[in-house]
């Protein structure tokens, strides 16, 4: 428990100090997206890493959060904070309802079904032109504001997004170390034994699905208000796969791993400017190699790989 506290305080300290290191807007802007992607990766990890249920449709929940918040504020002049709340509740409610039939499916079927769900949502973003603005997007979404403090530049947005990110991480870590987190990991290890222990597996999976959708929708809403714009292209199948990649890189079931995975995958395309669209090839390779050779993710995998490669000194013969 102490170690968790230390890790968390280190994270908070790092997050608070970032604006002092990077005074230029560009890096702050990138870090805003690191924060949003971290929230999404943590949300997905609760489902994928803890409950062991895959979702290839999380970009859809993210997008719904963005669009509901965007449409309410830009078209209907609802208060942005209220819109965020409405978006999160609506999306998690939708996830809760669809969770019952969808989480009855297992493995490959679940993957296909969530993928189908994500694509249906994506098609609606594109086709419901009257509401969403269609493929060209929805603009004029207002910034969030606290009284006279309007979150309208990179540093302010950084503070806003990372407040949410850090709270999300705290809540996820707390959850992981509670009876709910234990029950989820139990489902992952042996579903039948978890049921015999009285864990209502079906309900719990659905609840986590809804929670995961809730966090994703909040992230979507933040995204919409930070960007003041939302277009379908950001919420497609490709982004769902990117989210899964973040979780896999960071290690299934590791909250801080998801932070690492999200950071790496958000920074990578920025650092490798020359790659442009070709980062997709790298994601493919990462997914295959990490799953094949480092089932615990890079955080665990690299040290153990080094350990295996370096000669062991203490073990002599005889």
């Amino acid at each position: 428990m102490k170690r968790e506290l230390v890790k968390y305080l280190l994270l908070v300290a790092a997050a608070v100090s970032m604006p002092y290191f990077f005074s230029d807007g560009y890096m702050m802007n990138v870090l805003v997206f690191v924060g949003i992607n971290t929230m999404l990766a943590v949300a997905l990890n609760l489902l994928l890493g803890f409950a062991g249920q895959i979702s290839l449709g999380h970009a859809g929940f993210f997008g719904l959060g963005a669009y509901i918040s965007g449409v309410l504020t830009a078209t209907h002049q609802v208060n942005p904070w209220l819109a965020m709340l409405i978006a999160a509740i609506a999306v998690s409610f939708l996830a809760f309802l669809i969770g019952f039939p969808i989480l009855k499916l297992k493995g490959h079927y679940l993957a296909m079904a969530t993928l189908g769900l994500g694509i249906i949502i994506y098609i609606v973003f594109n086709e419901a032109v009257d509401i969403t603005g269609g493929p060209s997007g929805l603009s004029g979404i207002p910034n969030l504001a606290l009284g006279s403090l309007v979150f309208d530049n990179d540093v302010k947005n950084y503070c806003l997004v990372w407040t949410f990110t850090i709270v999300t991480i705290l809540l996820a870590v707390n959850l992981a170390h509670s009876r709910i987190g234990r029950a989820l990991r139990a489902i992952h290890d042996s579903e039948v034994a978890a049921r015999v222990m009285g864990v209502n597996v079906r309900l719990l999976k659905v609840q986590i699905f809804a929670l995961s959708a809730f966090i994703s929708a909040v992230a979507g809403s933040l995204y919409a208000h930070v960007m003041t714009f939302a277009a379908p292209a950001s919420f497609g199948f490709h982004f769902s796969v990117e989210l899964v990649t973040m979780v896999i890189i960071g290690g299934l079931g590791s909250i801080y791993g998801s932070l690492f995975g999200a950071t790496l995958l958000t920074l990578l395309p920025e650092l490798l400017r020359t790659f442009q669209d070709y980062d997709i090839i790298i994601y493919g390779l990462i997914l295959i190699l990490v799953t094949m050779f480092m089932p615990g993710g890079l955080v665990q995998g690299i040290p153990s790989l080094l350990g295996a490669l370096l000669p062991k000194k203490k073990e002599g013969r005889g």
């Binding site: 994928l48 993957a111 669209d277 090839i281």
Partner: protein
């Protein structure tokens, strides 16, 4: 055109695209039956079938029949490579790991295709010209006939393979019970490899015969793959008639949906059907629920 002519037109074109979905769906179910894997990279084999044909035709100026043969050969080789490099070596094969690996494979193949051929959309000329054939007031392209012909041929070939050849029977045995199959001396690993080879070949056939109708580009694999999967699901993942019917049902519904409701939501039709089938009848619409021994 009055409504009934329109309906016939929708049915005809639905039948044609449905045949394609059936071919792709068969690829899914062959691998699924041999391995229990749903190969998310199946759509990429379809894309390769079309793109490699385009490449041979336009860049190397090879005549169409040779280009097609080349495309099938290369796609099949990619399928073989994929099985050997990514599927066979995996040690802890939980379903989630397999899903992630095949997704990784699919975006890798897609990314490489984009790297090699760029993002442009390409067309292949129709195999027998573009002159429509009129049936009453509905028109049919010669390419449609090619599609029907090739699909029928592929289905008959797979039927013959599975029912009358030793390898085909061995693969069916593996699908039924891999352990028992290996006990009687069937090389299960080779059968898994076989299933990838056959599926990728079948996918590439679907890819090159549809390319003249719908154009092709590096990213057509996602949608075509998913719709093929939908066909297979409707057919209960059978590697026979069920999936073929599933594909045709899907193609016709999609075409009717596009024509009568809205073309924008055409793609959504397949996924709504997919979800409904998965929720209500995951064993497909032709099969009776089997009592499964847990």
């Amino acid at each position: 055109m009055n409504l009934s002519d329109q309906l016939i037109q929708f049915l005809l074109s639905g039948f044609a695209t449905g045949s394609i979905y059936a071919l792709i769906g068969l690829g899914f179910s062959i691998i699924y039956n041999a391995t229990g894997i749903i190969n998310f990279a199946q759509g990429e084999f379809v894309m390769l079938g079309g793109m490699v044909t385009v490449f041979f035709l336009t860049s190397l100026h090879i005549p169409l029949p040779a280009a097609i043969l080349g495309a099938v050969a290369i796609t099949t080789f990619v399928g073989l490579l994929f099985e050997r490099l990514a599927i066979r070596p995996i040690r802890k094969a939980t379903p989630i790991n397999l899903v992630i690996i095949t997704i990784g494979g699919s975006i890798l193949i897609r990314g490489l295709a984009m790297l090699i051929w760029g993002k442009d959309t390409h067309a292949i000329p129709g195999f027998s010209g573009e002159e429509p054939i009129m049936i009453g007031n509905a028109s049919l392209l010669p390419q449609h006939l090619w599609i029907f012909g090739m699909t029928t041929l592929a289905i008959i070939a797979s039927k013959v393979f599975f029912n009358y050849t030793i390898s085909g029977k061995a693969m069916r045995a593996c699908a039924f019970n891999p352990r028992a199959a290996s006990l009687i001396g069937i090389d299960v690993k080779r059968m898994v490899l076989f299933s990838f080879v056959i599926s990728s070949a079948m996918g590439s056939v679907a890819g090159f015969i549809i390319a003249p109708l719908t154009m092709t580009s590096y990213d057509v694999g996602i949608m075509l793959g998913l719709k093929g999967f939908c066909a297979a699901i409707i057919g209960g993942m059978s590697s026979g008639l069920g999936t073929v019917l599933g594909g045709i049902i899907l193609g016709v519904l999609e075409s009717l949906g596009a024509g009568l409701i809205s073309s924008g939501y055409k793609d959504a039709v397949a996924f709504i059907i997919l979800l409904l089938i998965l929720f209500i009848r995951p064993q497909g619409i032709f099969k009776r629920a089997e009592s499964e021994r847990v």
